[in-house]
Amino acid sequence: MPGEPQPQMDSNETDLIRRVCKGEPEAFEELVRPYERVVYITAISILKNSADAEEVAQEAVLKAFSNLPNFRAECKFSTWLVQITYNEARMKLRKDRRHLYDSVDDPQQGEQGDYSPRDFADWRPIPSESLESDEIRQALQNAINSLSSTYREIVNLRDIQDLSIKETATVLGIPEASVKTRLHRARLLLRDALAPGLDGCWRAKQEYRKVRPW
């Protein structure tokens, strides 16, 4: 389309796509390899379960392979792949009817109204080594899983996978302004969930206690 800004296509990716379409299926694995993790994280952020996420990831990759000749480079290949994975995961969720349970969202998580932090605990940066600890990783995963699916998806795409606001909007099919609003609320909810526990004195199963007198 003349005048429309085209997304930057990686020339190596363009070449790999051409090779796959010309009947060289081995090139497909090379094309997808940098995004294997992205596919997995997208699926698990919606399904919350590793086995389901794997199944959906395999389906999504198969679908991308079959539909590759129809890929018109209107967005980046990675965005397209994430979009397919996202749709497959949503479809599985609907099929399993688990959304019936998932839809009971915490009313406090509504997008309307102002946010007030639950506390003002100082939170020092987490030392990088602590992420090697299963306990800390589990705490982070639990915090993400405690969000409603709307917020989980946003955090997954923007913060975990580092898609831009625009790409996140493309994948979800929502306006950029909604991405920003939801992202904002999701990050603050995560801060609320994590700040007390990771405030320099993190202990598993320890009751939350305020670390500042106010």
């Binding site: 497909f28 940066p125 987490i126 990783r137 913060d159 904002h184 990050r187 603050l188 106010w214």
Partner: protein, 78 residues
Amino acid sequence: MATIEISCVEIWREISNYLEGEISAELRDRMQAHFEVCKHCSAVLDGTRNVVELMGDGRVFPMPEGFRRRLYRKIRRR
């Protein structure tokens, strides 16, 4: 100081956009001036920034062992 003051509630509304750099220079300056004097808001800012950094760390969500090998299974079976 020429900067117009901003309330804590307004700060909380814009923290994520502040981290994204998606605000006007004028608002950014007002927020910065607020963070310098408000311990509560700078604690919320630090915490939110930590969340963003932690979520972006690949070690938080490791892939299951053998995931890569199994990922292309359905294609290879065709």
